[in-house]
């Protein structure tokens, strides 16, 4: 397993380089221009000069190598300088967003906390709700609980978040007036009152996303449990006189986790990627909102950097999922 992990980690480097190139070419090829949000009153020659000032008129491979250099050399060195007060970066240009002219990593740094707290909480809440529901639904298949769970789960993933989010706003913010509709980024939790405020402003986005996540995960959990409930080893375990609790939670659950682990592992990078629609709807300034804004403004450095970090996370978490498969089912061998 260790050699497997090491080999995969080494292999990840060329994979990620290829992915980064593909992303770069893709984003570059996509129609749209950084000038699309500039009012029509700005004449064409001024637009051309603005594009030149951004460096957006340079050949695509030149820009790609510039980005690679900035991402793997300038940015880490700048970070190092920031920590230890050195000045090795020598004022070299960092990756700058075309839209706001601010360093991309500064923007990411500003946004990570919101994404992690809001989207991360929603994901955690989703998993915590989904696992017991999935397990119990499978254990008591076709019971009232199972039927109700199925119904809610189906509604949960057949209504898109733009719809459920708006509905939640109308119910909880407009009608009941319990929660604010706009997330206040400048709120710092210092005492009990501000903590309550933070909980209030997190409530609606967490509800919206948690419902969607719980719906998906609980379906996989349930179906996988059902598959294993009828297995011979379950009968054996029961025949041995083990309690139901041990049979279900130890034997069946462990063998049912493989598809669930895949789904959860696939979902974790998307916590970082943020929930584009939900973040936008509730004014949470997370990574997802930044990504969609950057895509609309054809802000190539921003899109490229975010997409690449996203790729790194996906590759990492898929590796983690593979390692977990081996732990859950020792029969799985990779070499």
């Amino acid at each position: 397993m260790l050699t497997f992990t090491l080999r995969r980690l080494l292999l990840a480097i060329p994979t990620l380089l290829v992915i980064s190139l593909v992303i770069f070419l893709l984003v570059d090829l996509a129609p749209g221009s950084p000038m699309s949000e500039i009012p029509l009153t700005v004449p064409p020659d001024v637009r051309r000069k603005m594009i030149e000032a951004l460096g957006a008129d340079q050949p695509v491979f030149f820009r790609y190598f510039l980005w690679l250099r900035q991402f793997f050399w300038v940015e880490p060195v700048t970070l190092f300088d920031g920590w230890f007060g050195t000045s090795w970066a020598g004022g070299e240009q960092r990756i700058l967003s075309w839209q706001s002219r601010a360093p991309v990593f500064t923007i990411i740094g500003q946004r990570i906390p919101q994404t992690l707290t809001v989207i991360g909480t929603a994901y955690l809440v989703g998993i915590l709700i989904a696992l017991p529901i999935g397990i119990y639904s499978a254990y008591r298949q076709y019971s009232l609980f199972d039927q109700l769970g199925t119904l809610i789960a189906m509604i949960g993933f057949s209504v898109p978040t733009f719809f459920s989010g708006t509905l939640i706003i109308i119910i909880f913010a407009v009608t009941l007036g319990w929660f604010p509709t706009k997330y206040d980024t400048n709120l710092h939790v210092t005492d009990w009152a501000s903590f309550v405020k933070q909980l209030q402003q997190m409530a609606m986005p967490v509800m919206t996303l948690g419902l969607a996540n719980a719906a998906v995960i609980s379906r996989y959990m349930r179906s996988s449990m059902l598959d294993n409930m009828g297995m011979d080893y379950v009968r054996t375990a029961r025949a041995k006189g083990l309690t139901e609790r041990v049979v279900v939670l130890k034997h069946v659950l462990r063998n049912s986790m493989i598809p669930v682990v895949t789904v959860i592992a696939l979902g974790i990078p998307s916590i970082f990627g943020g929930a584009i629609i939900t973040e936008n709807l509730f004014g949470v300034n997370g990574i997802g909102a930044a990504l969609i804004g950057a895509i609309h403004a054809s802000d190539l450095p921003m899109v490229q950097t975010l997409a690449f970090i996203f790729a790194v996370l996906i590759v990492t978490f898929n590796l983690i999922a593979d390692v977990l498969y081996g732990l859950l089912d020792p029969r799985i061998r990779y070499d």
């Binding site: 749209g32 000038m35 009153t41 000069k49 706001s100 601010a102 407009v174």
Partner: protein, 566 residues
Amino acid sequence: MKLTTALLGAACALSFAPAAFADRGTDGEVKFTFPQAVSIMNPFLSSGTKDVYAASLVLEPLAGFDADGNIIPKLVTEIPTLENGGISADLTSITWKLLPDLKWSDGSPVTADDAVFTAAYCMDPAGGCAQLSKFDSVAKVEAVDASTVKVTFTGPKPNPYTAFVGALSPLLQKAQFAACQGAAAPTCTDPNNMPIGTGPFKVTGFTVNDTVTLAMNENYRDPAKPAFASAVIKGGGDAEGSARAVMETGEFDYAWNTQIPPDSQASMTAAGKGEFVVAFGTLVERIEMNMTDPDPALPEGERATVKHPHPILSDIKVRTALSKAIDRQILSDVGYGAGGMPTCNVIPAPAAWASDNTGCIAQDMEGAKKLLDEAGWVPGADGIREKDGKKLHILYQSTVNPIRQDFQALVKDWWTELGVDVELKAIDPSVFFGGDAGSPDTFQKFYADVEMYANNSDGTDPETYLSQYQCVNAPSPDNQWQGENMNRFCDPAYDAKVKVLSTTVDVAERQKLAKELNDMVTKDSMVVVPLVHRGTLSAHSNTLGGVKINAWDSEMWNVADWFRVK
């Protein structure tokens, strides 16, 4: 309800009386919400309206515009004119006198050097300044003395109120931006996000594309203003969410650009927490007719160029018929409600510049049908008109936007009644307006028969705007499809008149010429088919007083006068 509105109206009216409502900073916080978040606070690096408006709380020009489009002094003692000698007799220079004892928010004095620097900053060829056109034909800007700025033009300039006038070209502090000129401009993150200004507020915190926090400027020139001690601008979401936050939940005081359907406007107003206000500038939703053939069968490089005139729309009778079949009042009511009115003009405002052309407002379906008959397009077996075996088929493109899709559906209905086969297409706005020469879907390439979007003139004087329809400005492969004459309209008489306008000084004469040019592209040729004169819909809370909506400058032009209604 009615009574409250009346009382509030009275309160608003009172706010302009010199009555000392409050001393500086006694009214707490004013909260703004924008559907698009603020990216940068330096208007010279982004002319996105959201950025310009946010910056206008901090940065000020020498002069601005009031709600009626009249020029008003901001940092100067008076507006220079020919009469007071501020503008030279030969129209080649304009001299501004700064107010005495003017201070930046950091306490240092504002001098003419700051203006000289600002001009150099924007005119630097490597800087990529978004407001370069404000400094068009400026030969030099010099400091005559510490408080006198003289702008000299390369030739006579009939409208010299461009540089340092309006929210688009404010004054920057030389001390702060000295190291940020030219190629270094974009790298100066801190100055760009937290510029030092002379406005009623100063930036205290900036989160890119999210929130700007501001505090009152202790060095503001009027010691009694602003009434608010702090301000915050939260961006992001959509127009609905912004409107809701002001009108229904009351979390915010002011929402800019809340373009929502008329039905929702009514229901939100009914909640009684705020009101919608409309600023009518020169924004006109229009259908542009393609005068060249966009047939995909033509080789790339010749498609949609003047080489091939449009097989159907080159006939003025067809263009007129298409315009006559449209009921603009219905469009305006369905799409914009109070935020729109039907128009036949490209220049709908200010009143003195707008032609009295209203001939298109009444729908005339029968007249339209007759015109098509005359043009030789007769109904075929399936009801679609044909001529020489060719069907009357029109590809009608626009951007993705619920109101535009409604317009497309309605216009399609009318044109179908006329016997036209209409195909609709909606394109992502960032592609449509992006101007990427590699994409077939830009509004410049115009690979369709007609297209619909909105455009406006920058400021009150429409000279630049009207000059866009000259022959040379047609986008084509030769200029990488960059140009503003999307229709490829070409009329030597029009070009000649634009030239006359550019040298005419007398305002009344300029207005007459502008009206004639407006008529030439609209009712005389039907190349541009204006539909709706659009306003910008904003919302403000009932507890916010002093708001005076302005379409000619920043909507927050008089934020120093805003106060909390108690």
